[in-house]
Amino acid sequence: MSAITLSEQERHRLRRAHPEVFHRRPWQRWGGLLLVAGALGYLIYCWSFFDIGTKLGQGKWERAGIYMADWVSWEAQPRFRFQPDGSIAIEHQRFSPLGENPDPDWMTVLPDGRKQVTFGSADDRIEIATTDVVAVLDGVAYDIVFDGDAAVLPEDAPATMTEKNGRVTVSFGFAGSAEIRSTQVLVRRRFLGWENFWFDTTSPFWGMGLPAVWSSVTSSERIDPAQSNLSLAWNEFLTNSEWQHGDVFNKLAQTIVMAFVGTLFAALLAFPLAFIAARNVTNSKPANWMTKRLFDFTRSVDMLIWALVFTRGFGPGPLAGIAAIFVTDTGTFGKLYSEAIENIDDKQREGIRSVGASTVEVNRFGIVPQIAPVVISQTLYFWEANIRGATIIGAVGAGGIGLKLLEAMRTNQDWENVAYMVLLILCVVFVFDTISSALRSRLIGKSH
């Protein structure tokens, strides 16, 4: 491209002809920069207001990894206790995911009586005896002996073996770790996946693979004489004590019901009220004003306040959530619908009125077809949004899956249950997004 050369005269002419380009006001020139600087200053103020630096420093970041790993994996924690008579007793944690009498293939007894635990591969293992513990890391063996009450770290130990207060910890990365003391060895063995997802350890179906469950469901021999195997399996699945599928499904259904019923009732009440609020339909200033202020009030008193008020009124449960969504969204819909009515093209109403239609007919055929796209698309939009919103107001007691999520997170033990519920919620949100956009394009065409 050739460069354009301008003569001095040309430059003058351009400057004079377009003063708004070459002589901009200070606000136009620096306003954007000032806004950015203001925003930055505000964020710095917030940093000190919330004391974020200190709190980030105090955070238990080393646990964050474990919590994240808990989303998709589980841990068995057998304890090898040294008995006075020289034998080793194996204890499992209460409600162990391994069941009552576990005999997993990663725990074996060697010919010489040592207990062996493997961590993923044969090259990563520990061999436990009451006199010493041999840790094998990547095929290299390290002997950990006891000196009185303390376990002694070998001289040539790699960085993955550490000693603290007479306890030696051997880390095998994701596969787990072993804490070696003079009286016991605590093994943490981590596995990818969700343990006992289908059936818990007390179920007759526990430990069966899918084909085994299928063949038992289809066989006529009943495990429980009172019911068929299929219904037994279904009950056992729903009452799984660890995953509580039945309760989770129930709470999820409550959330969906809250959003559906609350939004539907809000739309049904707001629709006629919007005609009263619209000044081009109802020719009465006080009536317009009163309805509009009513909308403003129910909309501006937060959904949280309504949720807590109705939780006190109805007691905890989805009815409180329905009422909260209904009241808040009546205000929102009322405002949206009445604005839509006030913005219609008046010619259609005139036309219908001129052929002698009654007031109801004028509104039915003169207004409703014009506002229908707005009404339908906004209602569907808020239906979607309320499914998400119902999750969180549920957490304050208004019913649904929110409270269950909150409880699962409180203990910091059940992150896999949180992951399961989040996955279900994401699926529900996705499904309803799809339904609502399908409905939208079917009812009002693709353009909206």
């Binding site: 491209m1 505000y42 964020l43 917030c46 207001f49 919330f50 980030l56 105090q58 955070g59 646990r63 964050a64 919590y67 409550q254 019901v257 559906f260 019923v261 539907l264 501006s300 008193v301 937060d302 959904m303 949280l304 306040i305 807590l308 008020v309 006190r312 009124g313 109805f314 007691g315 905890p316 449960g317 989805p318 009815l319 409180a320 929102t332 949206l336 052929v355 002698g356 239609a357 906004q378 939009y381 808020f382 949004a385 998400r388 999750t391 969180i392 957490a395 304050v396 019913g399 929110g402 999520l405 909150l406 997170m409 910091n412 949180v418 989040v422 919620i425 994401l426 949100v429 996705f430």
Partner: protein, 321 residues
């Protein structure tokens, strides 16, 4: 309205058309009726289900429904003012119900103080504004990569869009809970949760605005050899900025509400004190908070509405959540 068929003799052809029209109309009405019946059935089942799942059944509870409002009468109207401004109460009996002065936040070691609920309101507002700013910033960075008209590689665009969807749909309460597990409950968890959701929600609205931008300035800049950043900066940004700011302000309104709610489940701020006071039947405190919250939300909505009207006129008054 007079029926045309009575006044005009119909030919065989128009009669056929008329019959077809009537049949189509009947089918249509039947479908509408069926859909309506379906919705009604679902609604009845949903209501029965909700009633069963609630701890208090609706019909049995109805007569007592507003009993709690009767219990919620403050000792005298000035109690609300005293609770709001942390003034000593004449009813003080050492219980938490009347301990208004305890919550004062003294400033600079002097006798001046910020009343508790004003301070908590400030916490909630700071959560809302900070997370809108952070979320808005990331949404701004992402939206140009997610728009289909700026020639961004398809896989990158697809990835960014899915990321935005995930951020939008991920339950805020879990985001807050994840942060709270590491940092303990508090405003940082709330800021994190609301920010992430804001990136998703604003990002989607932003890239839709970018996709609707006029591409002629872009063509012009491309013709004089501008690179991608220059084209975005000088052709797209000036066009979309008013709408961006409008959506940003709308988001601020929504986030004030969101941070109140997330405060109630452990994020701190006015939501938390509200949940406590309503749970313990502290009437005066509850009314003070409700009034304060209501006035703040109305003020913010009005201010942002006024700003938006100045920026883009009445056109950009759509809602979003």
């Amino acid at each position: 309205m007079a029926d045309i068929s009575q006044t005009q003799a119909m030919t065989a052809a128009t009669q056929t058309i008329h019959r077809h029209y009537q049949r189509l109309l009947a089918t249509r009405r039947l479908y509408s009726l069926l859909a309506l019946a379906g919705v009604l059935v679902v609604l009845v089942f949903a209501l029965l289900f909700a009633n069963d799942a609630s701890s208090g059944k609706f019909i049995e509870r109805l007569p007592y429904l507003f009993d709690f409002i009767k219990n919620f009468v403050p000792d005298d109207p000035f109690e609300i003012v005293r609770a709001m401004f942390d003034l000593p109460s004449p009813y003080a009996d050492g219980s938490f119900k009347y301990d208004y002065e305890v919550g004062r936040h003294y400033l600079f070691g002097t006798g001046l103080y910020a009343p508790e609920y004003f301070y908590e309101m400030l916490v909630t507002l700071n959560i809302a504004f900070a997370s809108t700013l952070i979320g808005g910033l990331f949404a701004f960075l992402f939206c140009f990569l997610a728009a289909s008209n700026l020639g961004v590689a398809r896989p990158l665009r697809w990835g960014i869009r899915r990321l935005l969807e995930l951020m939008r749909a991920f339950p805020e309460i879990v985001l807050a809970g994840m942060m709270a597990a590491v940092l303990s409950l508090g405003p940082i968890a709330a800021i994190f949760a609301v920010s992430v959701h804001t990136v998703g929600a604003l990002g989607k609205m932003f890239f839709e605005v970018v996709e609707n931008a006029d591409m002629k300035p872009d063509d012009g800049l491309r013709a004089v050899g501008a690179n991608w950043f220059e084209r975005v900066r000088f052709a797209i940004v000036p066009q979309v900025m008013p709408n961006f700011v409008s959506y940003f302000l709308l988001r601020t309104e929504i986030n004030v509400r969101a941070s109140t709610i997330i405060g109630a489940v452990g994020g701190g701020g006015i939501g938390e004190v509200f949940r406590q006071s309503i749970g313990r039947d502290h009437a005066a405190k509850t009314y003070a908070i409700v009034i304060l919250l209501f006035l703040t939300i109305v003020a913010i909505d009005q201010l942002s509405g006024w700003l938006r009207r100045r920026l883009v006129g009445n056109a950009a008054f759509q809602f979003g959540a």
